[in-house]
């Protein structure tokens, strides 16, 4: 589904990614762990199509060169990034945003747009699964939301848009243990053989709930170690020092 070969990225002449390789197949869950500043968010941002990076190497998504796709086309084709720091957008109503987003994606996929009634039904169902109070949805997007509420809102968007490749950038940071379980349940119930996850995290605790097939350690813009779920437990004990 996703094939990254020798990816390098620079910002303002500063090397951030230095020859990163990663292959993700449908049905897989990959976790990326690594110290602060190792380039995890940069990788996620590049996959989402964010501007401002000088990029070398190759990224293929379903066989297509990712660089040929705009940010919105990537989203329409099923790439979803749950941001590490979801942005506040004053004056934009959360419900209106969700609906515009869903219908843009549906339109691009050649599906019919959802009318208000069916949309509200869908949002109600998905938000109650995540324990999100409906009142939030009539507020301005993320404005005044707590850290945890913003993160839940990202997962809500994921569940509404139904992506094929979901990238979660430190979605677990700032969540209390109950919220963490709800988010993990949200991911687990969405996971199937046709979609894939790339989960960026610092903590083993999320991986106790979402079992990854692979764990990668990222350091200085490179994957320095890949292992199975046990690697996470080891990292939790010893820290990154042994790997970097």
């Amino acid at each position: 589904m996703l094939n990254i070969k020798n990816l390098e990225a620079k910002v303002d002449n500063k090397h951030i990614l230095n020859g990163l390789n990663l292959d993700i197949k449908p049905g897989e869950v990959h976790a990326i762990m690594g110290p602060n500043g190792s380039g995890k968010s940069t990788l996620a941002n590049i996959l989402s199509g964010k501007n401002g990076y000088e990029i070398k190497g190759e990224i293929k998504y379903d066989g297509q060169n990712l660089s040929e796709l705009s940010t919105e086309e990537r989203a329409q084709k099923g790439i979803f990034l749950a941001f590490q720091y979801p942005l506040e957008i004053p004056g934009v109503n959360t419900n209106v945003f969700l609906r515009t987003s869903l219908n843009s994606v549906r339109k691009a996929r050649g599906e019919k747009e959802l009318d208000t009634l069916n949309f509200l039904k869908l949002v109600k169902e998905k938000s109650s699964e995540l324990g999100i109070n409906e009142k939030f949805l009539s507020r301005q997007l993320n404005v005044g939301f707590s850290g945890g509420e913003k993160k839940k809102n990202e997962i809500l968007q994921m569940k509404i848009l139904q992506p094929k490749l979901a990238i979660l950038d430190e979605t677990d940071s700032g969540l209390d243990i109950d919220a963490l379980r709800i988010v993990a349940d949200g991911v687990n119930s969405y996971k199937n053989k046709d979609n894939a996850f790339l989960i960026i995290t610092h903590y083993q605790r999320l991986l106790d709930y979402i079992k990854p097939n692979f764990i990668h350690v990222l350091s200085k813009g490179k994957i320095v170690k890949t292992g199975n779920a046990e690697l996470g437990v080891e990292l939790e004990k010893t820290g990154y020092a042994n790997f970097i």
Binding site: G49, N51, F83, I89, G91, S104
Partner: protein, 414 residues
């Protein structure tokens, strides 16, 4: 040097000798300095003389209004209306109201209203104004539906100045919402120089909204003078995107206790449009409130100006005055100038002002796009979001829906 204008009082029919004399005197005063430039206090940022001389060859005041065939009315919400063609009151309809409570007639030029700020365009208006209306609402009468004032302009109007005066009196405890709706599609250039007088008597409440139906090649100057008595409320909404040039010169006198005035503006200026709001809020009495929030979105080559003056008399204690302007510049070629002026002589006063301008946050655009929303729509959402604070304040559900839809179209560039 040949002037680009030629105005004659003799072009106006039916004036008494006395009226002629007054008007000629005003015209002479105007001619001394001509159209304003940056030397005039009210025109600090703009040289109107140059703007007009570039866009007009010879402006005159000798127009003949041709009777238009059919006027197109708004269908989206129930309303009463006045139809004004080239400044002249043509018809009126108050079918939702008790007609005994509404007095409507042509403006009476025998009863001139004095203006505290005699800028050159007011002098010109005194000299040339014809037409206009006089509207008075009886005490205790609250309008059931809004009043739309349709301002039509003939297709044939070209290189003309159109001048008129209107007056509106709200008697005690009356209430009204007006939509001033300018409707012209003409590609011809013309200049409108109007003067409105509003009197709000004790406990009355007026919402006064300005919007245009379409883009047009017209140049507007509108002087709005209001006198507010005790416990009155005046809300002014400026949504008049689409004109080549527009200046609203707003004078508000808070003359008695608990008079309250708000100015809300949401403008999304298209390419090469120029809009100015100049306000003078005079706190002449204690315990009055004024509030101004101006939001401008500026596209390519557009220009926005906000000159907000707050004047607080010595006896106007417990004044609460607020003004804030925010501009969103979509392009390096657009410009926004704001200048607050505070003149405060009382000591127990709450007064705040501020002004910011900036461009669209591309991180927000990225966020929206990363959810599948196309770039153009993402921009529209953010622009709408920027203006929403004002749009939320619009009154009456059906009217509000109509206006918000109109503004949505303006954001998309009509």
């Amino acid at each position: 040097m040949k002037n680009f204008y030629d105005f004659k009082v003799d072009n106006i029919e039916g004036l008494s000798a006395q009226e002629k004399e007054f008007r000629n005197k005003e015209l002479d005063l105007f001619n001394k300095n001509g159209f304003p430039n940056k030397r005039e206090e009210a025109w600090k940022f703009t040289d109107l003389n140059t703007i007009l001389s570039k866009n007009f060859a010879n402006i005159t005041n000798d127009y003949i209004s041709l009777k238009e065939k059919k006027f197109e009315l708004i269908k989206e919400f129930d309303h009463n209306y006045l139809i004004v063609l080239d400044g002249i009151l043509v018809s009126n309809e108050f079918k939702f109201e008790d007609k005994n409570k509404v007095l409507i007639k042509e403006y009476d030029y025998k009863k001139q209203i004095s203006v505290s700020n005699q800028n050159s365009l007011n002098l010109l208006n005194n000299a040339l104004a014809t037409g206009g209306y006089n509207l008075e609402i009886s005490r205790d009468y609250k309008f059931k539906k809004p009043l739309v004032v349709y301002n039509y302009f003939s297709e044939s109007i070209k290189e003309k100045i159109i001048s008129y005066k209107n007056s509106l009196i709200l008697n005690e405890n009356s209430e009204l919402t007006i939509l001033n709706y300018t409707d012209t599609k003409t590609k011809n250039n013309f200049f409108v120089n109007s003067f409105d007088y509003l009197k709000l008597k004790k406990d009355s409440n007026l919402k006064n909204i300005f919007i245009n139906k379409d883009r047009c090649n017209c140049y507007f100057h509108n002087y709005l003078k209001s006198d507010l008595e005790q416990n009155t409320n005046l809300d002014t909404y400026i949504l008049s995107t689409g004109l080549k040039f527009n200046k609203m010169d707003i004078e508000i006198n808070l003359n008695e206790e608990r008079a309250k005035s708000s100015i809300f503006s949401a403008l999304s200026l298209g390419s090469e449009e120029h809009q100015e709001i100049k306000s003078s809020i005079n706190h002449n009495f204690k315990n009055c409130q004024s509030y101004q929030k101006i939001k401008n979105v500026l596209n390519d080559q557009s220009r926005g100006v906000y000159q907000g003056k707050i004047f607080v008399k010595q006896e106007a204690q417990k004044t609460d005055a607020y003004q804030l302007s925010k501009a969103l510049l979509l392009n390096d070629n657009s410009e926004f100038d704001a200048k607050p002026e505070l003149e405060i002589y009382a000591d127990d006063v709450k007064c705040s002002h501020g002004s910011t301008s900036g461009s669209i946050d591309l991180n927000l655009i990225h966020y929206l796009k990363s959810r599948g929303i196309p770039e153009k729509e993402a921009y529209q959402m953010l622009i709408n979001g920027f203006l929403s604070e004002i749009l939320e304040k619009l009154p009456e559900d059906n009217l509000k829906k109509f206006l918000v839809e109109k503004i949505g179209r303006q954001i998309n560039g009509y």
